[in-house]
Symmetry: C2
Subunit: 344 residues, 2 copies
C-alpha cells in the first residue's frame, strides 16, 4: 500500500509499505476512505517532539473495515466506521466511568491512539471499544469530510464545551481559531450557547467561526482581548471559556475572560506548566478538560452530521490526494491551510 | 479598647486603640466574643506579605452586634453573629450568583474582608450581606469555638469539598493537615464520603483528623504519598481531592492522587504559578476552588454546630486571652500550635 512515513523533521514522504495485518485479536483493519493532518502531527514535523525515523504517522481517519481479529464482537467486515483518534478498550473500570483517555487496558498494551492513518490501510487497535459504525454504510462523498472531522477535532472541541459545562443561554468565549477552536464554536452552538465570542484574527477563520455560530469576533490578543471580552459582557466575562491552544498566554487569556465562578474547558495540549492560579483562586475560576474521550461523543455527532445539522468538515480548507499529502505538512505549518484532508 | 496591632514582621502587640465606629451606612459594630489567628495572618508575621505598620489585624470572629448603620436591614443590635472572613454585599449580580468572593460592590469599596477582628470590638462592613445571626443568641461557652471556626477555616474546608464535588460514597483524599485541611476532612464526612484519606505526619493532627472522620492516614509526602494513596485505592486514586496547602509540591501531590476524571478542590492560596498541567490534561483531572464564598455555607454549618453534629472548633488546640494573643503568632509560626483562639 501507499503510506506516509515520517523520516525526519521537515521530511515526510509517501512510500510503498506492507499492508497492515492483525497484531492483536482485538484489532481491526480499516481501508481508509479519508484521512487528514492534525496540528499535533506538526509537532513532529517541526522537530518539537521526537519521533522515530521511518515511522507511520496520522491518527485520524474514516473508512471500511476489511478484517477483524477473532475477539472483535461488535465491528464487522464491511462496516463503515469513524476511527476516533483515541484507542480504548471500552470494558475496564475507567472506560465504564467515561474516562476513555485513561483506559487501563490500552495503557498496559502501550497503546494510546491509532497510528499510521495517513495511508491506504490502517490497523485500528481495540476495535470494539474504539470504532463507531456509521449507520447506513458509506455515505455520499460530500459527507466524508464531516465524518472525518469527528475522528479528532470536532470531538475535541466538543469536549471543551462539555468540560466547561456550556449550558443553554450561556455566553461562551473560544480561545484559538485553529480547527479545534472552530469546532469548539460549533460545539458551543450545539449545546445551546446564546452568544459565542470567537477570538480570531484571520479573515478565513473568522468566516468559518461565524458560519459555525460565533456571534462576536474579537481579533485582539492578550490583555487587549481580555478587555474587549469584558466590555462585550458588561464587565462580567464569559459564562464558559473553551481554551483550544495550550500556551501559557492563551491560558492566561482564557482565565482572564472567564467570569467569576466559570469553568475554562481546556483541550489545547499544555506547553509548559504555568497557569494563572492567582486569578483562578481569587475568582473561583475552574480549569477542567484534557484529552477528549472522543468515542463518547462520536455516535451523537455522527447522527448530527447525517441529519445535516452540523458540517464540522468545514474546518478543512484544502483537499489533496494521499500522494500530495506531504505538502499539507508544509501548508499547515506555514499557516497557509487550516487543515488538509485527503482521499487515498 | 484593647486590640492587636501589627508593627513589623515578628512584632505584633496589644495596644490601647479607639473603639471602631460606623464608617459606612452598611456597617455593623460587633463586640468580639471570640477571635483567632489565621495561617494567613502568619504571612504578614513572617514578612512574606507586606502590611502597614500599626495596622489592625485579624479577620475571624464571632460576637454581639452593638451598633448598625442606617442602611442595615437584617442585622439588629443584640444579635449574636458569626462574622465570615469575607465581606460581600449580598445584592449584586455576582453575589446573587453565589460568587461572593467576587462581590463587585465590595470590590468597588476596596473591601475584601473584615479587618481588625483580633480586638474587643470590630467594624464589620456590609453587615446585611456578610453577617449570619446565630439562632437563639449567644450559646454556651463550650459552643463558642465551634461557631468561631465557621468564620473561616471550616467554611474554607467545606468549600474544598463543594468544589471537588464530594459525593456520598466517595473516596476523598485531603492534602494538608493544618486547620483548613482538618476542616476539609470534616466537610468530606458531612458530604457523605465513605473513605477519607488524610495526608498528615503529626500525631496531634492525625488524632483530630481521625476524630473528624478520616479512615486512613498517610504520613508520607510527595511521590511516596502518591504511591501510597494509589495503593489504598486499587491503583485508581481518589474520587475527589481537597488541596489545602497551596504550594507547588502539594498541588502536584493532589493531582497525582486524583483518579482520572476527578476534581481537585483547591483552597490553599497558591504560592507560585506552577500546576501539573500535563497530568491534569492526560487524565482529565480538574482544578476548581479558590477563596471560599464562606457565608453561603454558614447558616447550615451553624445549624450543624448547634445540633451537636459537628465540632469544628476542635481544630483549636490552644486558648488564650486577647492580651496573650501575640504569643499565638509565635506558637503557630513555630508549629507548636495548630490554631489559637482567644476571648477578649
Amino acid at each position: 500500500m501507499r503510506a506516509l512515513r515520517f523520516n525526519a523533521p521537515f521530511d515526510v514522504t509517501v512510500e510503498e509499505a506492507s499492508d497492515p495485518s492483525l497484531v492483536d485479536s482485538r484489532d481491526a483493519i480499516v481501508r481508509v476512505a479519508a484521512t487528514c493532518v492534525c496540528g499535533s502531527d506538526l509537532w513532529y514535523f517541526r522537530g518539537d517532539n521526537p519521533r522515530d525515523a521511518g515511522s507511520a504517522i496520522g491518527h485520524e481517519c474514516i473508512g471500511e473495515v476489511v478484517d477483524v481479529g477473532v475477539d472483535v464482537r461488535n465491528i464487522r467486515v464491511g462496516d463503515f466506521v469513524v476511527v476516533p483518534f483515541l484507542a480504548s478498550c471500552g470494558q475496564c473500570r475507567l472506560c465504564r466511568d467515561g474516562q476513555l483517555q485513561s483506559c487501563s487496558v490500552a495503557a498496559e498494551a502501550g497503546v494510546f491512539s491509532t497510528q499510521g492513518a495517513q495511508a491506504e490501510y490502517v490497523r485500528a487497535p481495540f476495535a470494539d471499544g474504539s470504532l463507531v459504525v456509521v449507520p447506513g454504510g458509506r455515505p455520499a462523498d460530500a459527507v466524508l469530510p464531516h465524518l472525518l472531522a469527528l475522528s479528532d477535532v470536532m470531538a475535541t472541541g466538543y469536549h471543551a464545551a462539555v468540560a466547561a459545562d456550556v449550558q443553554p443561554g450561556h455566553t461562551v468565549a473560544v480561545v484559538g481559531d485553529g480547527a479545534v477552536g472552530l469546532s469548539a464554536v460549533l460545539a458551543a452552538r450545539m449545546r445551546g450557547a446564546e452568544r459565542i465570542i470567537a477570538l480570531s484574527r484571520h479573515a478565513d477563520r473568522q468566516a468559518i467561526a461565524t458560519s459555525f455560530g460565533a456571534t462576536d469576533i474579537v481579533p485582539a490578543r492578550g490583555e487587549e482581548a481580555v478587555a474587549e471580552v469584558r466590555e462585550l459582557t458588561q464587565g462580567m466575562g464569559a459564562d464558559a471559556v473553551l481554551e483550544c491552544v495550550g500556551t501559557e498566554e492563551s491560558m492566561t487569556t482564557a482565565v482572564g475572560i472567564a467570569r467569576p465562578g466559570a469553568t475554562v474547558g481546556f483541550v489545547g495540549l499544555p506547553h509548559g506548566s504555568g497557569a494563572p492560579l492567582g486569578r483562578m483562586f481569587r475568582h473561583n475560576i475552574g480549569l477542567v478538560g484534557g484529552v477528549a474521550p472522543s468515542r463518547l461523543y462520536t455516535p451523537a455527532l455522527i447522527d448530527a452530521v447525517l441529519a445535516g445539522e452540523i458540517t464540522p468538515g468545514d474546518v478543512f480548507d484544502r483537499r489533496m490526494t494521499l500522494e500530495e499529502l506531504p505538502a499539507a505538512y508544509v501548508e499547515m505549518n506555514e499557516r497557509r491551510a487550516i487543515k488538509v484532508w485527503a482521499t487515498p
